[in-house]
């Protein structure tokens, strides 16, 4: 229990940067929603619907990056399978939305979704029961990715599978799910996935208000996730997390249980990814097995890396930068995008290992501490201690 004690008040658990970021996110979400709904079409300040849809997607990606950052940035577990948790959350949401279609499907069957009628299902498979209720779907959105992560993590961390081995088996995990979900007789719509959604909580999915609402909800959840990350990393548990990342064996010898630490963040991170997927699906209107593709999961890693792993707002920045770049490039020169993405992987690892936010922060702290050092020197203080501190901050 002591692990989760509130951070010391004087430590100010949410840093200034994080506070500013959360505030900026709130302003951004309110402004976009307002500019989309309240400002009349044709006004210079109006934000068209497609931009809202695009930004809503980016917010979901940012959530996903934040969840990956929790395990990779703070705990050193490079997951190449986070897309799987995202997709599972998305499928749980998709199942709820499928049940909401009711008799409005092409075949008009009262219970069975279209693809089941098409594949000659006689009755709803057992694992679809309950998904007509949102509370159950919401539970499953968190429970399914969470349980998978828990079982997988329990097996992996207990036997101390770590480093690249863990990365490779997480990749194998999402690949296995990809293959499984492509099968028609899995009962999840095969390679077409789940689509043609009509409404959510009784609101028309295609309407502007619903879309703006989903966008806003995504922003709220992203803010929540950022706050959770800030809280965890500032708590005593967060210190243990970083200790596990930097020196697992030493942490173990000090009497802690790194596997439990890892299992906790790993499962939490999977639940966050699941929620991101659940918010993503109603906004794009489809979920199919393509989301399980290993390449998608690796892309999440590059968002986090570009933004800055091990920083609280880095992943959000990275997700927006990379995906914004992707939209821009695929619109203008579709051929070039993969070159850019590939170069981004190489460039970031070679020249920007701390990511954009990490590098900026480092430059900032170095400047500030140099400045303070200069002042202190003028006051005639001893400098060596301070120099060490600068290095420690930089190394962090």
């Amino acid at each position: 229990m002591t692990l989760f004690s509130w951070p010391n008040r004087t430590e100010n658990f949410v840093g200034v940067g994080t506070k500013a970021a959360l505030l900026a996110l709130a302003v951004f979400a309110v402004a976009i929603t307002f500019a989309n709904l309240a400002v009349p079409v044709g006004s210079a300040l109006h934000i068209p619907d497609y931009i809202v849809a695009l930004l809503g997607k980016f917010l979901c990606y940012a959530m996903l990056a934040v969840s990956l950052n929790l395990v990779w940035g703070y705990c050193g577990i490079l997951s190449l399978g986070h897309g799987a948790f995202f997709a599972l959350g998305g499928y749980a949401m998709g199942m709820y939305l499928m049940r909401q279609i009711g008799t409005r499907g092409v075949y008009g069957h009262p219970v069975l979704p279209d693809f089941m009628v098409f594949l000659n299902y006689k009755e709803l498979p057992w694992f679809w029961t309950g998904f007509d209720q949102f509370w159950f779907a919401a539970l499953m959105i968190m429970l399914v990715p969470g349980m998978l992560a828990f079982v997988f993590g329990w097996l992996a961390f207990r036997s101390r599978v770590s480093g690249v081995y863990l990365s490779i088996i997480t990749q194998a995990m999402t690949y296995a799910l990809l293959l499984a979900f492509f099968r028609n007789d899995m009962g999840f719509g095969g390679n077409n996935g789940l689509t043609d959604f009509k409404e959510i909580f009784g609101f028309e999915l295609q309407s502007r208000e619903t879309r703006a609402g989903l966008f806003f909800a995504s922003a709220v959840f992203l803010g929540l996730f950022v706050a959770i990350t800030a809280f965890i990393t500032a708590s005593r548990f967060g210190k243990l997390l970083v200790a596990t990342r930097d020196a697992e064996a030493r942490t173990r010898f000090l009497g802690f249980r790194p596997e439990k630490v890892k299992l906790f963040v790993w499962t939490l991170s999977a639940v966050m990814a699941g929620i991101a997927g659940a918010l993503y699906v109603p906004q794009v209107g489809i979920i199919n097995p393509g989301e399980f593709a290993p390449a998608n999961s690796i892309e999440i890693v590059i968002w986090t890396a570009v933004g800055g792993r091990g920083t609280i707002i880095g992943p959000v920045v990275g997700a927006f930068l990379v995906n914004g770049g992707k939209s821009w490039f695929t619109g203008l020169f579709p051929e070039v995008w993969l070159f850019v993405l590939g170069a981004l992987f190489v460039f970031t690892t070679l020249f920007l290992p701390k990511g954009v936010v990490g590098t900026v922060r480092e430059a900032w702290t170095t400047r500030r501490s140099t400045a303070s050092r200069v002042t202190k020197r003028n006051e005639g203080c001893i400098q060596t201690k301070n120099g060490d501190q600068t290095q420690a901050v930089a190394a962090e």
């Binding site: 480093g163 088996i169 690949y175 293959l179 890693v301």
Partner: protein, 536 residues
Amino acid sequence: MLRGISVVCSWLIWSFLACSASAQEVDIKPIIAEFAQAKKFRDVEVIVEKLGATGDSRVGSSLRALSDGKLKFRISDGEVFIVEDGSAFDPITREKISIGDGDPNSFKKVKVKNSLRRKIAATLSGLTLKSTSVERRLRSASTIFKNADARSLEALETALVDEENIDVRVAFSDAKAAATLASDRSSDEKLIAIDRIIERGGSDALSLLSRFSIRADGELKTAIDAGISKIQSSLAVWASAQNVWYGISLGSVLLLAAIGLAITFGVMGVINMAHGEMVMLGAYTTFAVQELIRASAPELFAWSLAIALPLAFLVSGTVGLIMERGLIRFLYGRPLETLLATWGVSLILQQCVRTIFGPTNREVGNPDWMSGAFEIGHLSITWNRLWIVVFAMAVFTVLYFIINRTSFGLDMRAVTQNRRMAGAMGIRTSWVDAMTFALGSGIAGIAGVALSQIGNVSPNLGQSYIIDSFLVVVFGGVGNLWGTLVGAMSLGIMNKFLEPYAGAVLGKVIILIAIILFIQKRPRGLFALKGRAVEV
């Protein structure tokens, strides 16, 4: 005078030859002409039998036309033709004949029905039993065997007497046994025939016996049922042998894809996510070489793979060398970063190939010596699969030799085991790193040459192999070539044995889950290097 005799003689000879030629033709022609007079199906059948009795292979064309409903006769004079697409042909020589106005109403079709068609088919197969081509005789024997055609029995027996080719004799006796079973001969003869069929075995024999099992009774039935279970159990053995073969073949493909990785990942500890793209580059090199050969020197096509092999090694090896010198050497000791950077390289390489060769699948041709198949017992083996197994083993052997018996291999192992000590002994460690990486990549390139022979070549080729290759290396145990061999083969064979029960996709999923669980149990793979090192 002498001159007169010679003229007479030559005239005699000439007329004799002409006579004998026309004599033969006269033999068939009047019989064919009888079709015009046939009023009932029975009449047609008699004519067919007569034609079959001539034993002349030239009746084939008219019989086939009759079966297809293309044999017609002119109502005005009863002359028989083969009519096809509005033109008429001679029923024997199939030469085109001008028929004046060509009014379709002036012809009448010789009627056929299905029972008659079967009769015709039997007659035709009886005729092909005497064909000069061995392949044709074998084919007709196997048709008779499958259909168990009692009417061919006598034709078979006569054909057996003259037959000299041993393979054909065996096929004829098998067919004879099947025909005997269908005929109304004594049950003693049938029992011998059943023994013969059981001895032949195979799925054809099984379906034949199952058909007769329903009709037969008494001792015949017991013999047939015993035969069925015997063939079934032997077929099960053959089926598992076939699965093992498919498994070995798949295992060789996995081995080829993974063996380069076993060096870069296993020996050097470098995660190269662009490994699959090295395979792809090799495959595209093969494609380019073949295109070049097709354009400039088609006679070299049989050698295209031999030319492509060293080139593919060079292309992929060079790309690997550039990668190591330009990227990976800055990332030693940071495996996760290496993974990401090499993934970036793989994206760039894919897009390069897509830009140069286009996004669609390219087909790489098989040289003659790699196409076709042969059979051992009931095992069908395609040549390209066999060659790939042989090739995979050869690559494995050469690599094993390089690592364990050459001075370069010694340097490589020394650097792997203790880099600083190796450096102190005067080994240029960075040079060894670069060469090892180039070797691993080059091996991936020649794997690409082999893999281009069994599938399409596309920019995504590498991605389809990368996860499998990593699993093979991790499963087999890192840093051990034998582990890679055993890992690849066992994964291949497991996969093929699961496929019939679980389906191809689910089988693969099961394998993946099994490996994930296996790694929990033995995190360092099947053949882990024993040592006292703790992971760092």
